[in-house]
């Protein structure tokens, strides 16, 4: 173990340079994020992930954001265990009827101000699961969605760009208000 720790010390971090925020996402957010709400947050957002019927593909890629190459926490973004600690709900899946109530209750448990980010193609409109008796078909049908990150599943870089756009927009909002 000592050899590994030593190697890590001399090797330097593996973490890669951050991508620029996603322009399309910024545009979508500009219209939706409330300036007053932004002021209350610094450049840090706590995220609660909710799987509302995903195939688990999105979760795998969201997980990857925490690995050493993407290292999400360096941006002030972190995943929290309870919606009561969260600013952002990151919702995946076509919203199954069996998960609808749990999703709504998670949203109600999240304090204001809060954002909802829908992740993945099926979270937009149900994707390949659209039309099923067991799916609502998209997060927007249940909660007000501030930002969509598309992809099946979106790669970690796409997720990062979307979340950075959210952060940028929150920060811009707070400085504009000051």
């Amino acid at each position: 173990m000592r050899r590994m720790i030593f190697k890590s010390l001399v090797h330097g971090p593996l973490t890669e340079t951050a991508p620029a925020a996603d322009d399309a996402a910024l545009a979508e957010l500009a219209a939706q994020v409330n300036v007053v709400a932004r002021r209350r947050l610094g450049r840090t957002l706590s995220i609660r992930e909710v799987d509302a019927g995903s195939c688990n593909g999105c979760e795998l890629e969201i997980h990857a954001l925490n690995n050493v190459l993407y290292d999400l926490e360096r941006f002030g973004l972190r995943f929290v265990a309870s919606p009561r600690h969260a600013d952002v709900l990151l919702v995946t899946g076509p919203v199954t009827l069996n998960m609808r109530e749990a999703l709504e209750r998670t949203y109600q448990a999240t304090p204001q101000p809060k954002w909802v980010v829908a992740v993945g193609d099926c979270a937009r409109d149900g994707g390949v699961f659209a039309g099923s008796y067991a799916c609502v078909g998209g997060v927007g049908a249940v909660l007000p969605v501030d930002l969509h990150i598309s992809g099946c599943p979106p790669a970690p870089l796409a997720l990062l760009k979307g979340l950075l756009a959210l952060l940028d927009s929150a920060e811009r909002g707070s400085s504009a208000a000051i």
């Binding site: 173990m1 590994m4 799987d51 195939c55 795998l60 997980h63 009827l97 749990a102 699961f129 008796y133």
Partner: protein, 506 residues
């Protein structure tokens, strides 16, 4: 006592079913089959409904002769298998929810996938609108009684970034007395969506049953379709499928080993394993154009050929893994505080693993050597050299160790595939051979054996498709393995099983 072969001979064998035999049997033979399961002469592979028929897939104890028995429910019911053979209980509860066919004699009357929220009852059978004013009844968890017991409800929304499900613990102080799972939260109605679908669209759905096993599911579906159509697949495609399958296994096993250690608060291994997983995914992306290799395996072959520099990229990945992985496992093995959490934790007995036919690491860490790549087997694994590691200990440590040894086997197989990859086309057009129509396949994903069964309509579309995740036979065993452990060890045990929610809920 009659053997599975005797039962098949007594039944009416359906010629359009491939490659295993399927026979329609009467009540006597059905009861004989239940006895075979009960006495462990056979292992349950699946149980599902199609219109007014119940299909039972099973395989002999040697794992060599799989077969399907079909029972025609004349009055909407069939003799329950679950009443005599516990592994069938949840399958029958799900079957009743979806098809409306009644497992006669099943004592558990509770719904399983149907939480009372759908607009229809029995979506796969005689669908009828659910009663408008019906209020979902509270789910009756099995009682645990005793002095100073308390209940801990967990989920469906969990603390981590994982899928939803509900766990009800009854604990005496720190010690878990009973765990009862309640699943079905991510039921998407995939089997209903599959019905009347074109092969192309159905393949997209099959690849999204469980995202972590997308290659294995796409392969199981493709093989079932190819059997139903009587289609041949170019040999290069077979090898590329195996290459993708082994890359998927590597990525998942790295992720799992890291995550189990993380649940014992050993973050360093998690970080290093996460890096290896990411490197596998990036290599997959460079070679096949998708990090999880979704939609790359299609009926008829594969959609992406290995690019010219692909072999070099994968070679580089293997070198990196060979350089760092042994050191990581050495660290795991030499960290007493970590081993203290994993050794002897979450014991699963060999008896239960055998009875439930648990596949994957869960079964192989508890003495069950079954691996669908070996028996019944499918190409090109008959030409690849690999071992199926088996351990007897049945604890979290053994499940980590099986993953480690499977990673080593996958590395060897990938090297052989790169060395001997045949040339030629990678996809063939599908055309339906006369006399065909139904197909079945058993494919080994990283989690265990996935069963895919299809029947096709005259126009070549899907009539009915059933996909059975390995988790069906692993989730119930988690309830058994956790008994007597402390609550704080549940994440460890759960992660060492790593059952699928989406694959199970379908």
């Amino acid at each position: 006592m009659k053997t599975l072969r005797d039962i098949l001979e007594e039944g009416q064998v359906m010629a359009q079913h491939r490659p295993w035999p399927r026979a329609v049997v009467g009540e006597d033979s059905w009861q004989q089959a239940i006895r075979l399961l009960q006495e462990e002469q056979c292992t349950l592979l699946g149980l599902w409904g199609e219109n007014e028929v119940v299909h039972l897939a099973l395989i002999d104890a040697q794992g060599k002769e799989p077969a399907i028995l079909s029972f025609e429910c004349e009055d909407g019911s069939f003799p329950s298998i679950g009443r005599a053979h516990a592994p069938a209980i949840r399958l029958e509860r799900a079957l009743r929810d979806l098809s409306g066919l009644d497992p006669e004699g099943l004592t558990d009357a509770r719904a399983w996938l149907d939480h009372g929220k759908w607009p229809v009852d029995h979506p796969l059978g005689q669908a009828r609108p659910a009663e408008a004013k019906r209020k979902p009844k509270p789910y009756a968890f099995l009682p645990a009684e005793g002095e100073s017991l308390h209940e801990i409800p967990v989920g469906p929304v969990h603390a981590g970034i994982i899928e939803p499900g509900h766990f009800r613990f009854s604990a005496s102080g720190e010690t878990i007395v009973r765990l009862e799972e309640r699943l079905g939260y991510v039921h998407k109605g995939i089997e209903s969506l599959l019905a009347r679908q074109t092969i192309e669209r159905a393949a997209l759905l099959a690849g999204r049953v469980s995202g972590d096993s997308t290659v294995a599911y796409a392969l199981a579906f493709a093989r079932a379709i190819e059997a139903a159509y009587g289609a041949e697949v170019p040999v290069r495609a077979l090898w590329l499928r195996a290459l993708m399958g082994e890359l998927e296994r590597l990525a998942n096993h790295f992720g799992d080993i890291g995550a189990i250690c993380n649940d014992a608060a050993f973050a360093m291994l998690h970080a290093h394993c996460g890096l290896l997983r990411e490197q596998v995914l990036r290599t997959a992306d460079s070679c096949f154009g998708h990090r999880l290799m979704m939609d790359r395996v299609v009926p008829g072959g594969v959609r992406a050929d290995l690019p010219r520099e692909g072999a070099r990229m994968i070679g580089g990945l293997l070198a990196q893994v060979r350089d760092s992985f042994p050191e990581l496992m050495e660290m795991y093995d030499n960290t007493a505080s970590l081993k203290d959490r994993t050794v002897g934790t979450g014991l699963l007995s060999a008896k239960l693993a055998r009875q439930f036919g648990a596949g994957g690491c869960v079964g192989r860490a508890s003495g069950r050597a079954f691996d669908a790549r070996r028996t019944p087997g499918y190409p090109p694994y008959d030409q690849l050299e690999f071992e199926v590691p088996v351990l007897e200990a049945g604890d979290v440590n053994a499940r980590i160790w099986i993953r480690k040894r499977e990673i080593e086997q996958s590395l060897v197989m990938i090297e052989q595939i790169l060395r001997e990859l045949p040339s030629g086309p990678v996809c063939a057009a599908l055309s339906m051979q006369p006399g065909a129509g139904e197909g079945v396949a058993l494919v080994e994903g990283f989690r265990g054996d996935i069963l895919a069964w299809v029947s096709t309509a005259a126009d070549g579309r899907i009539a009915r498709c059933h996909l059975r995740d390995p988790s069906w036979f692993q989730w119930p065993l988690l309830e058994a393995a956790i008994e007597g452990n402390i609550v704080a060890d549940f994440p460890l045990c759960n992660k060492s099983f790593n059952c699928s929610y989406s694959g199970h809920d379908l």
